[in-house]
């Protein structure tokens, strides 16, 4: 196996869909500025890049027409660099990283940009033309279950109380606010030019979040349920990008990689509890890496919903102190296609920052899947 590293990671600011400062920015513009920002940070010859692999959960309209290629052209990548758009819903841009790692093993390239975009302002969730298959809906309606309902199912199955979800969400905001105050988020953010000026900071974090305020919210998905808008990740606009290359290439070009990719995995699960997806995927990846889950030092576990994250933490018996050190998606936002590269890049940078040995990035995926990546120090 060729050692593959995450050489660098950046992202755009994440802001609320439909009301945030990036709502007026086309997702391809957002993606191209982010990709350009990554390249401007890495002193490499862009001709060396094999492909731009870009994750997007609803690749249509302004995110359609193989938007990865369009973004490559917009970002002035050399014409020789390819572009492919991949869709694994929320796991799309982690999948992009996995594909690059796989291609490298096949000697099909040395360096890749693995990125993700989602403008949930400009392309609605489910897309503009949701046309479910009537037969599938009749026989397996859970195939199309609403995401919030899957969180409710986990909250019920795992008996995760409202208060526990709210506390988890407040903690996410506090960690994110602290990271923001300490400049740990600005490090990874590429400021984005918009018609109304430059946007350089995240827009979803609420430093003053409290259990009291969250406690007043009505359930968002089930009137008798416990999952609220406050304990769910918000609809978000954002983009992320990573440089994935061989360790050899990084060395030759004077890059100082964040982490090495140790193992990857995908695991399916029941669609109606899709949020538990990280459990199967993490177990598989740990086994492939030959490590015990307890030995992982830092973890990014995507917070689609507090109930979902808590269920995974309980099943995997994870140490809360290792998870989402700079806040998770409940605070930062969850631009579907961009999240995978964010959490993988993020945990790689935390691994390096904390001088840790092993890291895990994992997330759940609508339709019933989990995806995981295990990293180790270079």
């Amino acid at each position: 196996m060729k050692p593959v590293v995450i050489a660098d990671y950046v992202r755009s600011p994440f802001t609320f869909a439909s009301k945030g400062e990036l709502k007026g920015v086309r997702p391809d513009d957002l993606g191209s500025q982010t990709v350009r920002g990554l390249l401007d940070r890495c002193d490499i010859d862009p001709q060396d890049i094999e492909d731009l692999i870009l994750g997007c959960a609803f690749p249509e309209a302004e995110q359609g027409l193989n938007v990865a290629r369009m973004i490559g052209l917009m970002a002035d990548l050399p014409l020789s660099v390819g572009g492919t758009t991949v869709n694994r819903f929320c796991g799309s841009s982690m999948q992009a990283i996995h594909m690059a790692a796989g291609a490298i093993q096949m000697n099909a390239g040395e360096a890749f940009i693995c990125a993700g975009i989602e403008s949930m302002s400009r392309v609605p969730m489910l897309g503009y033309n949701p046309l479910p298959n009537p037969d599938l809906y009749e026989h397996k309606p859970q195939a199309y279950i609403a995401m919030g309902q899957t969180a409710e199912n986990l909250a019920t199955n795992y008996q995760i109380a409202r208060a526990e979800q709210d506390d988890f969400s407040v903690a996410s905001h506090k960690k994110a606010a602290a990271a923001q105050a300490a400049g740990r988020l600005a490090d990874e953010i590429i400021p984005i030019k918009t018609p109304d000026g430059v946007v350089a900071a995240d827009g979803c974090i609420r430093a003053d979040s409290s259990a009291e305020t969250l406690g007043t919210l009505r359930p968002a998905f089930d009137e008798n349920g416990s999952v609220t808008a406050g304990s769910s990740s918000p609809l978000t606009d954002g983009a992320s990008a990573t440089l994935i290359c061989t360790e050899d290439y990084a060395g030759k070009n004077g890059l100082s990689p964040l982490a090495r990719i140790k193992s990857i995995s995908i695991a399916g699960c029941r669609p109606e509890i899709m949020g538990i997806g990280p459990v199967g995927a993490t177990k598989k990846a740990a086994k492939r890496a030959g490590i015990d889950i307890n030995d992982i030092d830092v973890i990014e576990l995507n917070e689609a919903f507090a109930a979902q994250a808590l269920a995974c933490i309980r099943d995997l018996d994870l140490d809360m102190g290792k998870i989402n050190l700079d806040g998770g998606a409940i605070a930062l936002g969850h631009p579907l296609g961009a999240t995978g590269a964010r959490i993988t890049g993020k945990v790689a940078s935390i691994l390096k920052r904390e001088g840790a040995k092993t890291a895990l990035a994992t997330q759940c995926i609508g339709g019933g899947q989990g995806i995981a990546t295990i990293l180790e120090a270079v």
Binding site: P134, Y137, A146, E223
Partner: protein, 775 residues
């Protein structure tokens, strides 16, 4: 070029902000300035806060949220230079002469020459406001007195000073009339002008007499309310709305300004009870409550009324006064002649008020027309004081005043056995102060059926609708049923309009002067067929409507709908089937059929689908038009203005909006005539719809709504049927659906729904309570 292109409003209180909002509604840029609060971090915080508040206020001062962007907030210290390119500057600051004059000097230094300045004062005379100010300022200055809330109250009183240049008055009038849609009434520079002079007297007389006669607030409001064509809030309900704490200021200011001989001094009083209520925070709806309050203790919602003698609250009771019952047959005269306490009270209040009004012409206004208009539009009275006197009979009224030992005003005496108004040669005339009659003149561009009715007979007429020749080859179809609900007689008149129109006319305008264009189909007709499960009858009824509406759509000449007020259900479907709409800005359109458990059945589903599909802004693919139509119809979305109706596609982008209600018919007629040359009826359309998979997508959405507690069981049933129609039934993505297939889907679906118990329950509930049933 428009004479007023940019406006400034100074004072971002309720009135100032409301005026600014309405100027923005007219599509005009407006600067809103207020003071810099002490130690403010953001020096524009007051005006900015006012704009934010506008977006949250209900009823909305803005006709569309995006209108807020036309309001530029600022402060009078840093932003006074912004006045330099404003053509009209409205002052709406605190009623303090010194503060106003100080501000005027600042404004005068910053404004451009020839700009118009006006005050929204309600208590300070114009002569005092301009005293000592430069002559240039005086000649550009007038009073424009708006009523609260400025968007909804149609009256603006304009008062010009001795030195106001006539051109300033003309420009301000023209802007208020055509752009802001107001009826401008010219008042003299006298205390309280017209409406508040009479209105305050009336309110005060009503309170005092009720207290003296021992009437309850419910009794008083049942008398001085509906039976007189006065809003049902009556007197005490109105005071709750206005704010009890405002009244002492208004009363004191009138008391000081008016001579000791003025009859107002006799009704002036500050009852101890009201003083105490204000002190205790019972200032009305904005406070803890007023004469009425909603008691929510114990989880209930009980409307309570105060006892005027003891000050204690008790559950409000519906009074059953014989005089009020008598007024239903015999109108105002029967009420004031009745011998029960309600009749006695009505006479006491109205005799004083009407006599007072009659004594004030020409002091406050040159003619009675201005006075009546001011009371109709400033206080929402159905009839002005002189119209009310005519209803009583001027001679009868004078005799009864004399019999009660009250002074008979000279003007009333002069009318003698005649009347204040009369119709002569098809024209409405009023009596002038010199005893002759003059025609009631309408401004250019005002065309009213009310006037046409006096001078001509309808071309055709039945119990529920008429056809009128309004000149230039245009025929008007007028609905006249209860609430203008659509029934078989209206449908037959639609067919007749098209037959007659084809032979003798160039264009058809659908218009009426009711409060509402139409509240929709008369659902009472559905009860019996639904109970007896006569689905064939329902299908036939729906089919008749479809035929009439299709005839409108494909008529061989232009059809223009001109709605004002509510245009719901079948009323909204009229708009959807017209070639063009000229809508009054205050048009409230919606397809609300789901509220009674059915779907739009006269082509509404079809037309809304076609509109979204034909809209270039709709995202591509087969679903977006379906989703848009589904969201709009399944949630019974009602546009709260013509501008919002455009966003919801009940109006199309090139449909016109008229701000002034009185100008609607003339605008609609012009619009229809503009379509005549080279007119060709629309071609039937085809649409590609996704069929079953779209229905599944909508079902999923409804399922989520059910879980969230946002949709009831029967909502799901109705939405399910709606999704069948909107998805195109059994069609496939590769096929096209023609209009008649969509109509057939509407018909069969409507029939199925009408046979359901849940739908029948909704219809019955709506008929008996006027509110939708959540079942």
């Amino acid at each position: 070029m428009r004479e007023i292109q940019k406006v400034a409003v100074i004072g971002a209180g309720v009135m100032g902000a409301g005026i600014a909002a309405h100027i923005a509604n007219a599509g005009v840029e407006v600067v809103l300035l207020d003071i810099v609060p002490k130690d403010a971090e953001d020096r524009r915080v007051i005006a900015k806060g006012a704009v934010q508040k506008l977006l949250k206020t209900d009823p909305a001062p803005l006709m569309h949220p995006r209108n807020a962007k036309r309001i530029q907030p600022g402060n009078i210290e840093d932003d006074i230079a912004l006045l330099g390119d404003c053509d009209w500057i409205v002052e709406a600051v605190i009623e303090n002469l010194e503060i106003k004059q100080d501000l005027y000097r600042k404004v005068d230094a910053a404004r451009k020459p020839g700009s118009i300045i006006s005050s929204n004062t309600s208590t300070i005379p114009l002569s005092a406001l301009v005293e000592g100010l430069p002559t240039g300022f005086q000649s550009d200055f007038l009073i424009t007195h708006f009523f609260n809330p400025p968007r909804y109250m149609r009256l603006v009183e304009i008062i010009e000073g001795a030195d106001t240049r006539p051109e300033a008055g003309r420009v301000a009038r023209d802007f208020c009339d055509k752009r802001l849609g107001k009826s401008v009434v010219t008042s003299n520079d006298t205390p309280g002008f017209i409406a508040n002079r009479i209105g305050t007297f009336w309110l005060q007389a009503s309170v005092v007499e009720a207290m003296d006669a021992g009437l309850s607030v419910e009794e008083a409001d049942s008398v001085i309310g509906r039976p007189m064509g006065i809003p049902k809030t009556g007197v005490f309900g109105l005071l709750d709305l206005v704010g009890l704490d405002l009244m002492p200021h208004v009363l004191d200011s009138l008391r000081t300004a008016l001579p000791s001989s003025d009859p107002f001094q006799d009704v002036y009083r500050k009852p101890e009870l009201i003083e105490k209520m204000i002190a205790d925070g019972y200032t009305g709806r904005k406070g803890k409550g007023g004469f009425y309050r909603l008691n929510t203790s114990g989880g209930g919602r009980v409307k309570e009324a105060i006892n005027l003698q003891t000050g204690a609250y008790a559950k409000a009771v519906r009074p059953g006064l014989a005089s009020v019952a008598a007024s239903k047959k015999g109108s105002i005269k029967a009420l004031v002649s009745h011998s029960d306490k309600g009749g006695v009270y009505a006479w006491k209040v109205m005799s004083k008020t009407l006599a007072y009004a009659a004594s004030l012409v020409p002091e406050i206004a040159d003619d009675i027309v201005a006075v009546d208009e001011a009371m109709r539009l400033g206080y929402n009275w159905k009839f002005g004081p002189f119209e009310m006197i005519d209803k009583l009979g001027a001679a009868w009224f004078a005799d009864h005043l004399a019999a009660d030992g009250m002074a008979v005003p000279d003007f009333l005496r002069q009318v003698g056995s005649g009347s204040f108004y009369r119709v002569q040669n098809g024209a409405l005339q009023y009596q002038t102060v010199d005893g002759t009659y003059s025609n009631v003149l309408r401004p250019d561009g005002v065309l009213l059926l009310e006037d046409i009715r006096l001078r001509s007979k309808p071309i055709a007429k039945n119990m529920s609708a008429s056809l009128w020749d309004v000149g230039d080859g245009v025929v008007v179809l007028e609905f006249q049923s209860k609430l203008n609900s659509i029934n078989p007689m209206i449908l037959s008149m639609i067919r007749k309009a098209i037959d007659i129109g084809e032979k003798d006319y160039k264009a058809l305008v659908i218009y009426n002067e009711g409060s509402n264009f139409s509240v929709g189909a008369n659902i009472g007709f559905l009860v019996v067929p639904s109970m007896l499960k006569l689905s064939g009858v329902v299908g036939w009824m729906v089919g008749q409507g479809q035929k009439a509406y299709q005839a409108l759509k494909f008529a061989p000449f232009p059809v223009v709908a001109a709605p004002s007020g509510m245009a719901l259900g079948g009323g909204c479907e009229v708009l959807l089937h017209s070639d063009a709409v000229q809508a009054h800005a205050e048009t409230y359109a919606g397809l609300v059929e789901v509220g009674v458990g059915v779907i739009p059945g006269w082509g509404g589903c079809k037309e809304l689908l076609l509109r979204w599909a034909g809209d270039t802004k709709t995202p591509r693919g087969p679903m977006p038009p379906v989703i848009k139509a589904f969201e709009t119809i399944s949630m019974a979305k009602v546009a709260k203005s013509a501008a919002e109706a455009r966003s919801l596609r009940f109006l199309s982008a090139d449909d016109g909006i008229t701000m002034n209600r009185d100008r609607l018919l003339a605008d609609a007629k012009a619009r229809a005539l503009a379509l005549v040359d080279g007119y060709a009826p629309p071609e039937p359309k085809e649409i590609q719809l996704p069929g079953l998979s779209a229905k599944v997508a909508m079902q999923m959405a409804v399922g989520d709504f059910r879980k969230q507690g946002l949709a009831t069981q029967h909502d799901a049933v109705v939405s399910g049927e709606l999704s069948t129609v909107l998805s195109g039934g059994d069609t496939d993505l590769t096929e096209t659906v023609i209009e008649s297939k969509l109509l057939e889907l509407e018909r069969t679906t409507f029939k199925r729904l009408a046979m359901k118990a849940g739908t029948l329950a909704r219809i019955r509930h709506m008929l008996s309570t006027g509110k939708p049933l959540r079942n």
